[in-house]
């Protein structure tokens, strides 16, 4: 804090962090692992580096990929009544309605519960594996991580589980329902997501990408000036 004066530049913004929620300027400082930095004005968490966070995030991303692939192909729910039965995996959901006006809806639903979570896990692994090994990031790592963050609100696996619970109640009077392995995979996914959120610190990842040698054009600007 005392020697902060030399480490930032109000002309170019070097070494400064602006709170995304209220625009208050902060001087960037290296935090100890386990510390949490909050915005002095609005209290938004700015950074919370955790010990071994990258390795944990990679492991959790792989876990969720495995769970999701299982969730696609294993039976999700089975209903039976009066001798008529129907077991459906999520894949069947797609195939049953891959026609007519409902096609866009089915595609959107599948994207939100399967496609985007898998894609986000992949992007996270792509970004973090070189960083965790202390090597320079892969090409477009910054873009990959930005997309992963942009898509976060659109991956809705946990909401899908609650939706399933509601659907079960509705169908309970009509037929007997058995839960398949895919349903439990989705339940496990909720906990994986919660754990992943606890370790996720965007600021640390951006810093790591930057420190590992992705070009920020401040040096260029200096050269031109």
């Amino acid at each position: 804090m005392s020697d902060g004066a030399e480490n930032y530049d109000l002309g170019t913004g070097r070494g400064l962090i602006a709170c995304p929620n209220c625009d208050a300027l902060h001087v960037e400082e290296e935090l100890e692992l386990g510390e949490t930095a909050r915005c002095i004005r609005c209290g938004t968490v700015l950074a919370k580096p955790r010990d071994g966070a990258f390795a944990q995030l990679i492991a959790l991303a792989f876990t969720s990929m495995v769970l999701l692939v299982g969730a696609v192909f294993f039976p999700f729910l089975q209903v039976s009544t009066m001798g008529f039965g129907n077991a459906s995996s999520l894949f069947d959901v797609a195939l049953a309605f891959a026609e007519g006006v409902m096609l866009p809806l089915v595609l959107a639903v599948l994207a939100m519960i399967i496609g985007l979570p898998i894609f986000r896990s992949f992007l996270l692994v792509y970004t973090l594996v070189p960083l965790a090994q202390g090597r320079p990031p892969f090409r477009h790592a910054a873009r990959a991580f930005r997309w992963s963050e942009l898509l976060r609100p659109w991956s809705m696996a946990e909401i899908f589980v609650i939706g399933t619970a509601v659907a079960l109640i509705k169908v309970a009077g009509l037929a007997t329902v058995h839960l398949g392995p895919a349903f439990w995979a989705f339940c496990a996914l909720i906990f994986v997501n919660i754990a992943s959120r606890a370790f996720m610190c965007q600021t640390s990842i951006w810093d790591a990408i930057e420190d590992a040698g992705v070009e920020t054009d401040l040096t260029e600007r200096k050269a031109r000036a």
């Binding site: 602006a18 209220c22 300027l25 609005c42 009544t81 959901v93 037929a175 600021t203």
Partner: protein, 219 residues
């Protein structure tokens, strides 16, 4: 991290007032003329009320889709190939049906997720977009930020109803006995939720703090 003056009680310098622009994705600060963040590649937008146009555009799109979502049926249930009755249920009808089944807790979840939350979200976003940038006290700004965070967090949960319809119509295909088909409201409700999510995302939370009295020592 500390403020540039390293004085937490004193005036707070914002990136905007310092003639800089902060990236709303990664927090990196750049000179005002920068258009794109060189660290994460996001577009740099100074906090400006003109950005609210986008919020309103998505908001109206969401509202337009919300009307048919409530008028048309969410799903159509055929029992015994239509002989024992063909029921079409709207969102509200589905809740009433659940109450008749006696499952009050689930009825409450659906009622909150597909009626209270969407309407509350429309009101909250409209209110935030109206008061953004207008004079406010620090406490008011804090409560507005809280409202914004709640809106952002809760918006996606309205998708529950869409998922319910999708699961039911895939699952309940028992031929002659019973089958469930999604109705037009499912699509428009999904669109409405998506549009309001986009509306909330395009709201710039920094505008909440723009209206605070200038306390900067630099003036």
């Amino acid at each position: 991290m500390s403020a540039p003056e390293s004085d937490h009680k004193g005036p707070i310098l914002t990136a905007h007032r310092a003639g800089l622009v902060g990236c709303h994705r990664c927090g990196r600060v750049w000179p005002l003329e920068h258009r794109r963040c060189n660290r994460c590649g996001a577009h740099l937008v100074p906090p400006d009320r003109r950005g609210l146009q986008k919020v309103w555009a998505w908001w109206f799109a969401g509202l337009i889709c919300y009307v048919p979502a409530n008028l048309f049926p969410m799903m159509r249930t055929e029992t015994f190939a239509g002989l024992a009755g063909n029921t079409e249920s709207t969102i509200l009808g589905g809740v009433v049906e659940l109450i008749h089944h006696g499952s009050y807790d689930i009825a409450l979840i659906v009622f909150v997720a597909s009626i209270i939350v969407p309407i509350g979200k429309f009101l909250a976003i409209a209110w935030l977009a109206t008061v953004a940038g207008q004079p406010a006290s620090v406490d008011q700004a804090h409560s507005r930020l809280k409202v914004y965070e709640v809106v952002e967090f809760i918006g996606r949960w309205s998708m529950i109803d869409v998922f319910v319809v999708a699961i039911l119509s895939a699952l309940v295909q028992l031929g002659f006995v019973a089958s469930i088909h999604p109705g037009p409201a499912a699509v428009s409700f999904a669109l409405s939720v998506a549009f309001t999510m986009l509306s909330a995302q395009s709201f710039d939370a920094r505008l909440i703090w723009r209206g605070l009295p200038l306390r900067s020592a630099r003036h």
